[in-house]
Symmetry: D2
């Protein structure tokens, strides 16, 4: 029997999206949080949402989220702690050269561990996107990596019943981010060495770091069931385009989805897309339909048969397998 | 009624493939030309083959090819003039700093225009892969580009009833090749300004120069029906991996195949793959099956409907279209 | 005698810089236009500035710019017509599927041709950054390219005494921009075929499209003195990082600067940098000092000697030349 | 007092270089091993050479190398065990699906541990370039990674007084290599967990995996002095071009060389270049001169001053520092 797949989305997908040229956004819309929940609730395949939370979020707002999540019957699947959208994070959060900024980041993460419990959520997404550098001779790599490990250890110890998922990304907004790739993050994980710290694979980040998404999730398995969560989207392989799923990488997605099944991943399939010029609801819905079609294509073929092809190492059989999944 | 698609292949796909580390090839096979023809003849969807021809090919060999092509009932769809595999081409052919090398290249191309006619073939592939540079301050870009245009003009005039297809590629074997992209080649085409000179799009070269293959063939159309021929393969987008078709880029291929139909391309669908570690016959055959499946998926949807989606510019509809082509 | 180099800067370098994650900017500053002019006037090597101009700029503002330019004794070297920062440009300007948007773009460009004259400036920068596409099956490449050529022809004819410089860029904000590379832009130039239309090379755009900047400006020369203007910055080669000059590419810059001299480029050396986390004045000043140091290093070596090395094609000599320029 | 730098080279740089198009090499030379040693001995700054050793090397040849190394007074700094140039390695060595091939690789590595001692060399370079995959659904990532760790553990235990340096590379000859990046290799190192296993950083491999070379060596330090050896070359950042040093990346090299000093790296500075179309002796010599010039430029500036700039995190100061290193 196939496992039931649960879909979630980073709720910002229903809002406006901007970039450095069009700073006011491409849609000229300004939705309230409740409107975003309403949009999410319209998509029948969705059963959860993710939020990005600023560290100064007032308690009142937390209560409001609690209300909305119940009203619209949506789980809070993960909270992305905002250590990247404000000017004061611009030169780093947990690896800032400024001790007070590092502490602010750590305190913010701890506070969100409390908030998470309050919202029946047991996973934080820590994406240290501003923690890196842009120019040569600008950073002491040794000091910074030590601070990163120390800071994350401290957070992990604060509440062992909330999971911390590390989300890696090779660049943007810095030209070089410290937590860059699956390899580096697994290495850091060894140094941090805490049960409740694992990985959130944003598959787009994998793609544009020239990783193979399936191998990436397999490595999380190898490291001891460290795949805590998934962010799904697509891109052209050179930048974090955050496109709708399946726009570019169909065979790669088929293999990923097969491996998620193979390693018994039981977490959420959470979308993280930026539909800059598209209708958010349609973009999320179409992405889910694509995922469901691909999952169904995989499930239509006997697992043993797939394993035999993989074991053979024969690329012509592998391609024929992909063709069968897609065209009949 | 759908147009009939004719498939061809660069015949080396059935031989051995080597690279700079494994110079003797991955297969330890050493087939005669006839054996390559035999392999090609085993694939029922193939009706033509392409050859790479060294400029010193003896007439006897030409006669041999003629015999083989007839014996195995295969068209010679295109001849790639070898201006790239010998040490003496290492620093350029038609743009060499050495006048005698430039002349040798031009003479070789002319000779192949004669040979082409002899083989009932009316298309040469000119890929100036060694014409470029590797280091800064190593080349006089102005002189070289002038020589390229002059040389190609001279060739074009030699026999106006043989077509010269320019095949662009951004790099490899040089780190920078002059005939790098569709844009640059169309610009050169304007300067050359000859009826019988056009473009051969190797779609893999497009892909790893961050072109969109469909836009690339559309531009050939815009330039005045200048798409003379196609080389089909696939890659990961960063290098000329010369993989089997559909291994990586399914949606991009669907769009390409649609546009070939839209611009009434009536030439060959010729494979140029390097199945380093795969059986050549299986690799070619699987590539053709993938192409046929994709073409059929496109033809199953009404052209007007596709045109309406394109006209709408709505990416969510475009993705739904791709999903319908693939999954039902 | 060496030609005098004139430096300019896109004036936004002195303001705040934002990106899609930190939308309010990394500096928390909000300078008036006059403050930006004051900043520019503090850098003694600067004699001009560039502005980005929204198509709805009131006449009053034009008069204000005129006043500032005179007060601070700075030339307006170029005006970048804003066809990319507003939501209504999001799906294209001169190639929009919506005729009224296309007309709005054309009218805006024409209006800026008038404004340019008013400001003693004779060059517009047309960067159609939103003119492209993100997804497959989303665009009719043939229609769009025809509209681009038609629109630019109409603009060019409006005032033949104002130059239009086309600035190409391969991606961002669209994943695929039509005016992508030097080759494509030169091809379009042939189709537009107007005296007053030429090229603005943003060298960073060249770099991350895997062009060699020196070859790119040489091609502009080859096309008939079509290098109208330069945007200078640096990046890591994969994205438009808009970094300070010389941060990454020193040998490539040396070759570029040599070729600008070789082709007798007499225009401005205009900086287009985004010092997100840096002080704008220091970043612009340091970039200019780097440029001056590199130009001086080139001028210290006899031109004939450099030409001999280039003619030899010997990369070891070329590298020794670079070493001599840098280290003694 | 500055530490003395010792230079070495992979000896093949003096021979011929070939690629997949020009399989017979660009130089038409065929030197004996002794001739390569003679070439190396002509470069006064060289005091060591590296060899690539086929696993079937006869003992007689080992004795010959011993004789040559003494005759020409050159250290054997490292031996690269050939697990990548023969057809039988084509689908992997230590991760081959075929147990007998895995054993052959392990046995070959062990044999070279013996040979190394015989040649007064205490370092092997293990570069599993064929261990990876090309197509989706072609490999069992979990099995393969387990075999890699097991195999390397077995080798490490064989002789604890010979060091094994793991050389990572993201691709080529496979489109995806398992030992891809510094992060992944450090993670594997943790799993292998042997004193005598560490890292060989080929800086070109770092570059084209979008790593910063200085950060990469810093991470080796952080992992416990795990930088065993260096391979130096340069490239354009997208492929392993194996160019002469300083051809492209000057500021990045300055930072790297500074960090090697900062982390007290005391090993060899070994060149690994492919001068396809250049004279080998000149190419090696020019690379060393460039290195020496860069090292001297760094040493001319007070270490404390550099540290202060790094601590400030101010990119404008960092760039001014680079400018001072280069232009005065």
């Amino acid at each position: 029997m196939e496992q039931e797949i649960k879909f979630s989305v980073v709720i910002g997908a229903f809002g406006d999206q901007a970039d450095r040229f069009c700073l006011d956004g491409y849609k000229n819309i300004n939705k309230t949080l409740e409107q975003l929940f309403i949009d999410a609730s319209k998509i029948k395949d969705l059963s959860g949402v993710e939020l990005v939370g600023n560290i100064d979020m007032p308690d009142k707002e937390v209560q409001d989220i609690k209300r909305l999540k119940e009203k619209y019957n949506l789980d809070i699947t993960c909270i992305v702690v905002d250590i990247f959208t404000r000017a004061y994070w611009g030169r780093g959060s947990i690896t800032s050269k400024d001790k007070s900024v590092r502490q602010r980041a750590i305190d913010g993460i701890k506070r969100y561990m409390d908030i998470a419990k309050e919202l029946d959520c047991n996973l934080l997404d820590i994406w240290p996107g501003q923690d890196g550098y842009d120019y040569y001779f600008q950073s002491d790599y040794l000091k910074d990596i030590k601070n990163m490990v120390l800071g994350l250890k401290e957070c992990a110890d604060y509440r062992i019943n909330v999971k911390i998922g590390l989300e890696f990304k090779i660049k943007e907004p810095r030209t070089h981010c410290y937590m860059s790739s699956i390899g580096k993050t697994l290495f850091l994980l060894d140094k941090i060495n805490k049960e409740n710290v694992g990985i959130i694979v944003d598959v787009g980040h994998s793609l544009f770091a020239y990783e193979n998404m399936a191998e990436t999730v397999a490595l999380c398995k190898y490291a001891g069931n460290k795949l805590f969560h998934l962010h799904l989207n697509d891109n052209y392989g050179y930048w974090d385009d955050d496109m709708m799923i399946g726009s570019v990488h169909i065979p790669e997605y088929l293999e990923l989805l097969y491996w998620l099944k193979k390693i018994d991943y039981s977490g959420w399939y959470s979308l993280d897309i930026f539909p800059y010029r598209e209708d958010g609801i349609k973009a999320v819905n179409e992405s889910i339909q694509m995922l469901k079609s691909m999952i169904s294509a995989i499930n239509n073929i006997d697992k043993e048969e797939i394993e035999n092809i993989i074991s053979s190492g024969d690329a012509t059989k592998a391609l024929a397998l992909i063709r069968r999944m897609l065209f009949k």
